[in-house]
Symmetry: C2
Subunit: 257 residues, 2 copies
DNA sequence: CTATTTATGAATGAATGCAGTGTCAAGCGA
DNA sequence: TCGCTTGACACTGCATTCATTCATAAATAG
C-alpha cells in the first residue's frame, strides 16, 4: 500500500478498527464463512491483500490464525488452500460441542446460580418467548431468536467460569455449522421453522430448570441432547443442499458425501 | 539475517528442518515451556529473532500462533507479553481434559475395538508393566513410563476417530501442566513416585477393560477420574514449589496463589 | 502424436526499511 | 526533594524488496 496512509489509520483506529491485522483477520474469516472461496481453492496472498486493501504481511498473519482455527490448511508446496469439510467432521464437532456445553451446564448447576445470574438467564428466556409469541415467524422474530440463542449459550459459558472450557468451545465453534446458531437458519425457509425453535426453546427452559435445582447430571444430559437439533438441521441441509445453497452460501464448503 | 544464507537453508531443510516459520515456532514454544521467560515479561521481537537466528518476520508469525495457544498475550500497547497461569486455570484445563478424554473413551467403547486396536493398546500396557516391574524406579524406567503414557492417550484419541475432539484436546494440552504427562515428573524426586504410577497404570488397565466390554459410561467415568491424579500432582507441585523449581523450571509460569 | 525436459513467470518465504508510537529517563521547575 | 514535562531511544506494525521454489506451458525429441 501507499506509504502516506498511517495518518489515516489513526482515524480508522478511532472508528473502531484496531489494526490491519485484526481487520484483515475478521474480514477474511468472514469471506471464508460466506463461502467466497471454493474448497480446495488456492488462497493466493496477493489477490486477497488487494481485495482487503492491505499488504501481504497482515494477510499472512491472518492465515496463520485461520490455520489454527482449521478453516484453511497450508499446502505442502507452500501457501494456503481452502479446506473442505466432510459431514462426519461437522457431526463430530457438534458432538464435541454437546459434551462441552454439557460440562458447562453441569458446572453451573454444581456451582449454583447467584441472583443476578438467574435474572440474566430468565431475561434471556423471556426474549425467546417474545420472539416466538406470534403464531407466524417473521424474519425479525427469527433474528431475535438467533440473538437470544447466542446469548443463552454465552451466558452458560460465562457462568461456568472455566477459561479452558470457553477456549475449547470457541475453537470448536470456528468450524462452519458447528456453532450453536449456525444451523438454525436452515429451516427458516420451510414452514416448520417455528416448530423447531419451540423445541429448542423448551430445551433451554429445561436446562435452566435443572440448573436452578442444582441437578448437574440432568443439566448435562439436557445440554448434550440439545445439540441433536443441530445435527438434524445439518442433515436437513445436506438433503436440501441444492435449494439451500442460495440462502447459505457456506454450504459449498461441505464436501459432497 | 544475512542474505547469503538461503543456500544453507536448503541443506538445513534436508536435515529435517522445514522452514524458518516452523523452526522458530517450535523453538520459541520450547523456550517458553522451559520457563525461559518470566510471567509478564515483554517478549521483544529483536532479541528473540537474534537468539533463534532468524529475522523478525517468522518470530511475529510464531507469536500469532502462540497467542492462539494461550501461551503469550498481546499487549494493548503493542507487542507480546509472557502470560502467567493461575492455579485455577490449570485446574480448569485439567477438568476439561478429563471431560474430553472421557468422551474419547466412551466413543471407543461404543464403536468397539478392532483386533489391531486391541493389540496396540495391550502392547502399550505391557510397556507400562515393564517400566514398573522393578521394585525401584530408575530414571530410564520413568522415561519409558512417560512415553507409554503419552502413547496410551494418543491411541485412545486416535481410535475415537473424531477430529474435533483431537483438536480440542491438543489445544488444551498446549497449556503448561494441562497435558497428560505434564504433571507426572513432579513426584519423581520423591520416593513415592512409583506408587502413583502404579495407580495411574491400573486406571489405564481399567479403562481398557471397560472399553473391551463396550461399557461406554464406565470407560468415560474412569477416564474422567484418571485426571484427578494430575490435579493432585499439581497441588503437590504448588506446595513444594520452591524445591521443585530446579527440576521443572516451567513452574515459574504459575502465578503465586 | 506423445512424453519428457527445459524455461519462464508467478507466488511464497524471509528480510529489511520506514514511519509512528509508546516508554523511559533526564532535566527543569516548584 | 518531588513532580511534571519534554526529548530521545527503542520497538512495533506494516510495506516492500529480494531470493528461491514451484507450477505451467512450450518446445523438442522419440
Amino acid at each position: 500500500m501507499m506509504r502516506g496512509l498511517p495518518a489515516l489509520w489513526a482515524e480508522i483506529r478511532v472508528n473502531g478498527m484496531q489494526s490491519q491485522q485484526s481487520r484483515v483477520l475478521v474480514q477474511l474469516r468472514d469471506l471464508i464463512l460466506k463461502g467466497a472461496f471454493a474448497p480446495g481453492e488456492r488462497l493466493a496472498e496477493i489477490p486477497i491483500a488487494e481485495r482487503l486493501d492491505a499488504s501481504r504481511t497482515p494477510v499472512r498473519l491472518a492465515f496463520a490464525t485461520l490455520e489454527q482455527e482449521g478453516l484453511v490448511q497450508s499446502s505442502p508446496s507452500g501457501g494456503y488452500v481452502m479446506r473442505a469439510f466432510t459431514r462426519k467432521e461437522i457431526d463430530d464437532a457438534i458432538a464435541v460441542r454437546g459434551v462441552l456445553e454439557g460440562m458447562a451446564a453441569r458446572l453451573v448447576a454444581e456451582n449454583g446460580l447467584t441472583r443476578q445470574m438467574q435474572e440474566d438467564m430468565n431475561d434471556c428466556l423471556r426474549l425467546g418467548d417474545e420472539a416466538l409469541a406470534a403464531p407466524e415467524l417473521t424474519i425479525d422474530a427469527y433474528a431475535d431468536y438467533v440473538e437470544m440463542n447466542n446469548r443463552f449459550h454465552d451466558l452458560l459459558l460465562k457462568f461456568a467460569d472455566n477459561a479452558a472450557l470457553t477456549r475449547a468451545i470457541e475453537l470448536n465453534n470456528r468450524l462452519p455449522f458447528a456453532a450453536a446458531s449456525a444451523t438454525l437458519p436452515m429451516h427458516s425457509s420451510t414452514g416448520d421453522g417455528r416448530q423447531w425453535l419451540l423445541i429448542t426453546h423448551n430445551q433451554h427452559r429445561s436446562i435452566l430448570h435443572a440448573i436452578e435445582r442444582r441437578e448437574g447430571t440432568r443439566a448435562q444430559a439436557l445440554a448434550m441432547e440439545h445439540v441433536e437439533v443441530a445435527r438434524m438441521n445439518l442433515r436437513h441441509a445436506y438433503e436440501t443442499a441444492d435449494e439451500s445453497r442460495g440462502l447459505m452460501p457456506a454450504l459449498r464448503l461441505l464436501s459432497r458425501p
